[in-house]
Amino acid sequence: MKILVTVKEVATVEDEFEIEGTEIADRYLGADLNEWDDYAIEEAVQLQEAGIADEVVAVTIGPEDCEQTIRQALAKGADRAVRVWDDALEEVDLLDVGAKTEILRAVVEEETPDLVLTGVQSGDDSWMATGVSLAEELGYEWGAVVNHLEHDFDDGVASVRRELEGGVEELTEIELPAALTIQTGINEPRYASLRGIRQAQRKELAVRSLAELGVDESAVESEVRLTDMYEPESESDATVWEGSADETATQLGELLREKGVAQ
């Protein structure tokens, strides 16, 4: 079985930051592997270690800068990676679900995996929709917010748990090929070992343009335009206690005694 995992480098934001236009100014941004994708990679690598997957391919959309992050997927055990980038994507403020779907579809159609794993959401733009959208476009089955996957795939079926609201899980059987959006907590993502990191440098990381994938530039134009970004108006009417830690702790202590919840 072949597994394709979509991974993304997401921007992390410092506590204090400034917005320029519809972007957070670069100097306040860091980069990290999307939290949910980390769990998706781990799940794929575990399937490989269990002898169920023959190959794990990581796919990302992103500029050259993000290669370091994508190599984390290779360092953790993915066999090879594909990075899609194009001048046409350089100017785009916001890649909407439709645009991401078009790009990823072209890669999946080339790779024809049995299973696609994506994160439930990405920590920056949090669309929470690309995995399911991709499945539909491919004619694959799907499952959203999966926090457990049985590793036997009896009769070409993925037995999963979907994490619903309020501490309830749904047990679902999904026919392969399928795309599953992976929720945190499904496993314990590993740290890349030094050996893994060294090996990752030698693994294949192919770069593909839209033209090479046969994707028309117009297909990746987002139908959703980002028109404004701002810090949410603080609705806070919190009393902020000032002073040293001893002073603020004393104030909190007084509150707790006043409320009669602690002596």
Partner: protein
């Protein structure tokens, strides 16, 4: 195309609260586009659901009587056929776990753009403006799109519709192609039982990713001992296996309503807030003065938890 089609959410025999919120959001959009609000309810005891959903502002309710529980293949097929029939400008679904499991497929199959997790909407002519959050609530954005679209709305952002309506209720004869149904829900399981019921506690000391290491949890346990409080947490602590699932507060964990909730190193992501916003008094200890938790906190200490928590323990020893 001016109508709006909204789809209700239910589970194990009960409509979920968001089903009434979606009426309010849908009505708002229908007023802005000048059309009717059509509501769909798919699977389960649809006639009973339709009666409950007939609140002020709903023009038409379509029932699709097919199966007991949510099945995304059936929801997707039914919604797409309703779209062809009603020809709405907008399809509105909850951004619930089930919404996330079919709305993107509906958008993809109908070749429509989708905006997810909207917290505010404004339709003007052919243009829809949706307000969304990015970076875990650190910034808000406005996004625009033209023409018909699928929209999923965040739960708890629109008030629930009230009153009694006089909607036209009718069965919609969706033709479900069973050969296209490739997923089967086989059951449900409650998780997170165990030794402690955090929803019963008067005082919760709740710890988040700011604690950094499992060893540091000892500090929070010491605090709980000193205060006579119960320990709860945000999701990453449970995902890491540092605390059992029954300690998780939030959308996919427990809803808690203590007298005092102390959020220690917790940012206040929407899924966390969903579980604790009903607390009587909320205190945040966080190094980030702009963390979203500050919006709902009554009291805040903007400082390092590793300084404040030991001082607080000392207070009570």
């Amino acid at each position: 195309m001016t109508n709006v089609l909204a789809v209700a959410d239910h589970r194990r025999g009960d409509l979920r609260d968001v089903s009434y919120e979606i009426i309010t959001a849908g009505r708002q959009l229908a007023d802005e586009t000048g059309g009717d609000l059509h509501l769909a309810v798919v699977s389960g005891t649809v006639d009973d659901f339709a009666e409950k959903l007939d609140r002020e502002g709903v023009d038409v309710i379509h029932t699709v009587d097919h199966g007991e529980e949510f099945n995304h293949d059936i929801y997707a097929q039914a919604t797409i056929q309703l779209y062809d029939d009603v020809a709405p400008q907008y399809v509105v679904t909850p951004n619930s776990v089930n919404g996330l499991d079919y709305a993107p497929a509906v958008a993809a199959r109908l070749d429509l753009p989708i905006v997810t997790d909207a917290v505010a909407l404004d339709a003007d002519g052919d243009t829809l403006t949706a307000t969304r959050e990015m970076y875990g609530g650190k910034v808000e954005t406005t996004t625009e799109l033209d023409g018909p679209a699928v929209i999923s709305i965040r739960e708890g952002e629109w008030p629930a519709a009230e009153g009694t309506g006089d909607a036209t209720i009718g069965a919609f004869a969706a033709e479900i192609d069973e050969s296209e149904v490739g997923s089967t829900v086989t059951g449900f399981e409650e998780v997170g039982g165990g030794d402690v019921d955090i929803s019963e506690a008067d005082l919760l000391v709740s710890v988040g990713r700011g604690i950094e290491e499992e060893e540091n949890l000892e500090l929070i346990r010491d605090l709980a001992d000193a205060l006579g409080a119960t320990v709860s947490s945000s999701r990453p602590i449970v995902d890491n296996g540092w605390l059992p699932k029954n300690r998780q507060v939030g959308q996919s964990g427990k809803v808690v309503t203590p007298d005092v909730y102390i959020a220690i190193g917790i940012s206040g992501a929407v899924q966390h807030v969903a579980g604790m916003k009903g607390s009587d008094t909320i205190v945040a200890i966080n190094t980030d003065p702009n963390a979203p938790i500050m919006d709902i906190a009554d009291y805040a200490i903007v400082d390092d938890l590793f300084d404040v928590v030991p001082a607080l323990i000392e207070e009570f020893q």
